[in-house]
């Protein structure tokens, strides 16, 4: 009999290690780290203040302004370096909110089965029928905007999908014998949900988390583009796209550079999620047991 080393690795860590064997995961990790680094370090290395007016609007790129100036005469590069943090933190935060809410609902639904399951999932369906952007727009138009509000709304908008996925993967687990054993032992329900069932679905949930971050990125960026995210004069990649749209033909850099950063961030997370998803199919294959 082979024993594990006396310190068993947490599940998610070994999943990451496994996923990191794929090239695409490595690329994803590299790109994501790059973007995060850019966002975090950026403000400290920016040549100018992001909100400072340094020249005439829409100047061509030059030695002074490597990416030119934007529609109000601010340095694009500085705004780029300073505009990453909102996108990064808000997308992680809203995805986390969505995960916490959705996983709880999904676990309760999967475990309860019967009418609780039906009711919860129908409620989720209701939320799901309203697309993320429209949901947020609806509330934003009535309440007003604000960073934490956006995070909360986007998080709630994620909840139904996360709940659906959680319920889907948990449904297989809830009828397994080790869960029945815990039931026969009258273990408290929350302990069963989070102690017995949850550890068995971490991998698909990690993938879902990655997908949620990607959707958050695009959703929040889109909201910023439409004017509902970060308010001017703060620097924000989405906002930059909106602000500089007017001269996109002649001065593409002011729009393209933030758009590229957003796209790269989403791409990187996506690759990581795909890598983790790759480990999943293999793991499922191996679960056959001895004869």
């Amino acid at each position: 009999m082979q024993t594990a080393s006396s310190l068993p690795m947490p599940v998610w860590f070994s999943t990451f290690a496994q996923a990191a064997r794929y090239n695409r995961t490595r690329i994803g990790i590299a790109i994501t780290l790059l973007v995060i680094l850019l966002a975090v370090i950026g403000p400290f290395v920016a040549p100018y203040e992001p909100s400072a007016f340094v020249g005439k609007p829409f100047l061509k790129p030059s030695a002074d302004f490597l990416l030119g100036t934007d529609f109000r005469g601010r340095d694009v590069l500085s705004r780029l370096l300073g505009g990453g943090i909102p996108v990064v933190w808000m997308s992680f935060a809203s995805a986390s909110v969505g995960m916490v809410l959705g996983v709880t609902v999904g676990l309760v639904a999967a475990y309860s089965r019967g009418w609780i399951d039906q009711v919860l999932m129908r409620i989720m369906d209701v939320f799901l029928s309203i697309p993320l952007i429209i949901f947020v727009l609806l509330f934003v138009s009535l309440i007003g905007t604000g960073e934490w509000l956006i995070v909360l709304l986007v998080g709630v908008a994620h909840m139904p999908q996360v709940a659906r996925v959680t319920r889907g993967v948990a449904a297989d687990i809830v009828s397994r014998e080790f869960v029945e054993f815990a039931e026969a032992l009258s273990v408290p329900r929350w302990k069963i949900l989070f102690g017995e069932i949850l550890p068995n679905i971490t991998t698909p949930l990690l993938v879902e988390f990655g997908i949620r971050i990607v959707w958050s990125i695009s959703g929040i960026a889109a909201l910023s583009v439409m004017g509902y995210g970060i308010q001017p004069p703060n620097a924000d990649w989405g906002l930059m796209i909106n602000e500089n749209r007017g001269r996109i033909a002649s001065r593409p850099l002011a729009v393209v550079s933030p758009a590229l950063c957003i796209a790269l961030f989403a791409f990187g997370i996506n690759m990581i999620a795909e890598g983790i998803a790759g480990t999943m199919s293999g793991a499922n294959r191996k679960a056959g047991g001895e004869q």
Partner: protein, 613 residues
């Protein structure tokens, strides 16, 4: 009927299959099968028997590589199955060499009608066959396997068939083009004994009638006794003994074969089952010399020195052992049957169940079941699938909220739902599940798994808790180190021991075991059964043992409760029920079990007729 030289269905020489990372799974495998005969390939987990089976079709799962050897089918020594191109193999598969899968439920495509899954075999290999001829051949093969041949039936989807019917379709798909050789991969796993017997009869008849040679891979020695002409025993990737079934079963020459046969419970009388200490070495960790040496009671230095070759013991009987023929493991000794339990001992039964009803909608799973369990006894609950025996045990432990019944545990009322029971009651009764794979949380260490039970009933410091866990692990024969392992690092037998340890952690009075050895190898089963008997003695445990295996019941239980379609049919002492059954259904169960029973068949020479259930 007279043939000068009986045709060979297949001749295999020096088959070797390697793992993807190098190192062999099986090696030096050679055998022949005559047309119309069945070779039973028996071995436990890790023996490599399944790999040998698929290799006859030139196929290896999971990245394993067929590294060497020759497979000549249908007496054609010019064509080596293993050397063919994928194209050529494809043409032979299904037509000359066919495969009957283990689990028909997953082997049949759930979205395709069964008629199509049959006709496509013909269409793939003989595309010019006219539709009328195809229909005729399907009709013929359906009759052969004993299924209706009408168009309505053929339009069904796999999920609309029973397990036995699905398996017959699997057989039909294999024989529809009259191949020379079929490979059956444990085709009767999970089927009732009666269904199993019927399927085996069909296979045997088809082989005889159509001159098909068959390789039947199984871990069940009684299946071999039923169906095979020759038997080949594999251990740890090597053939250790091969010969006619009567010869090998009557006088096994290899210590492992002897050990296997000593681990099979008998129907006619109780025996002291013998388990084999230790484990089979995994591929890549095999020792020099004989692979069985570590577990063999008569191994010497010579056995450990060099690889052992097959030697001829008798005509057609080869053994891979330096001490071939020596009795390494004697036949198990007979034990007396348990005395019939006397309810007048004055003590109250531990469990009393009156009027147990469980229904799902209109369907009655359990109908007015009534019984008691006396302190210290082992009550076996026996039935086929659909009898309700699992529901019964699950109702006892509180996992069937829909039940209606009056149940008492030590005189106190037992609530239908586990959550409504007192802590005392929860502690008194513990449950062990059938599947070693599913009953332990794969994401928790053994320590957490057993610790869950500990924490439910006790409060202790971390080190105290660990100590208690180590203690209970050693009581079930595991080293305390096992607590740091995850379930998938343990073998099936070890996992069941963990499940038992987990139950013991609560210090219960009653253990409810739901088919806990059905998924285990026979020698592992013997070890678990012996463990349970020891625990019963040392702790004064009361046991409820659910199973379909009557021989196991003979060996372990004091009383038997026979269940048929939710009703109690018979409940008496184990010797009485098996030797002198009263109810017709019990007699039927016994007749089926007898067909599979080693003792009554293996000693019979020559005659191979099978009993009809």
């Amino acid at each position: 009927m007279a043939e000068i030289a009986p045709a060979l269905a297949v001749e295999v020489r020096n088959l070797r299959i390697d793992m993807p990372e190098g190192g062999d799974i099986v090696d030096d495998v050679s055998f022949t099968i005559r047309a119309g005969e069945v070779l039973g390939l028996v071995g436990e987990s890790g023996s490599g028997k399944t790999t040998v089976g698929t290799a006859l079709l030139g196929f290896a799962r999971g990245g394993a590589r067929i590294a060497g050897g020759t497979v000549h089918v249908a007496g054609d020594s010019s064509v080596n199955m293993l050397d063919l191109t994928p194209q050529q193999k494809r043409r032979l598969r299904g037509k000359t060499v066919a495969y009957v899968p283990q689990d028909p439920a997953s082997a049949l495509n759930p979205s395709l009608r069964i008629g199509l899954q049959l006709s496509e075999v013909i269409e793939a290999h003989e595309p010019e066959t006219p539709r009328g001829e195809i229909d005729r051949r399907i009709e013929a093969v359906m009759q052969d396997v004993g299924l209706p041949a009408d168009p309505a039936f053929l339009m069904r989807f796999p999920h609309q068939l029973s397990g036995g019917q699905q398996q017959r379709i699997g057989i039909a798909m294999a024989v529809i083009l009259a191949p020379k050789l079929i490979v059956l991969d444990e085709p009767t796993t999970g089927l009732d004994v009666s269904t199993q017997n019927r399927i085996l009869d069909i296979v045997k008849r088809l082989c005889r009638e159509h001159g098909i040679g068959a390789l039947h891979v199984t871990h069940d020695l009684s299946v071999i006794a039923h169906i095979a002409d020759q038997v080949m025993v594999m251990y740890s990737g090597r053939v250790v003994e091969i010969g006619r079934v009567e010869t090998v079963y009557d006088q096994p020459c290899h210590p492992y074969t002897q050990a296997l046969l000593s681990a099979v419970p008998e129907l006619r009388y109780r025996t002291q089952l013998k388990a084999i200490p230790g484990h089979a070495a995994r591929p890549g960790q095999r020792p020099q010399g004989c692979f069985f040496q570590a577990r063999c009671p008569i191994a010497t230095q010579e056995c450990k020195a060099h690889p052992i070759a097959m030697t001829r013991q008798d005509a057609g009987h080869d053994v891979r052992c330096l001490k071939s023929g020596v009795t390494a493991i004697a036949e198990p000794e007979r034990l007396p049957d348990p005395l019939p339990a006397t309810a007048t001992s004055g003590k109250r039964p531990v469990i009393e169940v009156r009027d147990l009803h469980v229904a799902y909608g209109a369907f009655r799973v359990l109908d007015g079941v009534e019984f008691t369990v006396e302190k210290g006894e082992c009550l076996a609950i026996v039935g086929e699938s659909g009898s309700g025996k699992s529901t019964l045990s699950r109702a006892l432990i509180g996992l069937v909220p829909q039940q209606q019944c009056t149940a008492l545990l030590n005189g106190e009322r037992l609530a239908p739902r586990a959550r409504d029971r007192s802590r005392q009651q929860l502690q008194t009764m513990q449950y062990i599940f059938q599947s070693p794979h599913n009953s332990l949380n794969p994401r928790q260490t053994v320590e957490s798994i057993v610790g869950l039970v500990h924490d439910t009933f006790n409060r202790a410091s971390r080190s105290e808790r660990r100590q208690k866990i180590a203690e209970v692990l050693s009581q079930v024969g595991l080293s305390p180190d096992a607590m740091f392992a995850f379930p998938d690092q343990l073998s099936g037998g070890e996992r069941q021991r963990v499940a038992i340890a987990r139950a013991l952690m609560a210090d219960p009075q009653v253990l409810i075991c739901d088919e806990i050895t059905s998924a285990l190898d026979v020698s592992v089963q013997a070890a678990i059964v012996n463990l349970l008997k020891d625990l019963q003695q040392s702790r004064g445990l009361t046991m409820v043992f659910v199973t379909h295996n009557l021989a196991l019941v003979r060996n372990l239980a004091d009383r038997v409760l026979v269940l048929n379609q939710g009703k109690v049919v018979e409940m008496r002492g184990v010797a009485e029920v098996i030797d002198t059954p009263r109810h017709a259904y019990t007699k039927q169960l016994l007749a089926n079990a007898l067909v599979a029973d080693l003792d009554s068949r293996a000693k019979r020479s020559g005659e191979k007729e099978c009993l009809r259930a």
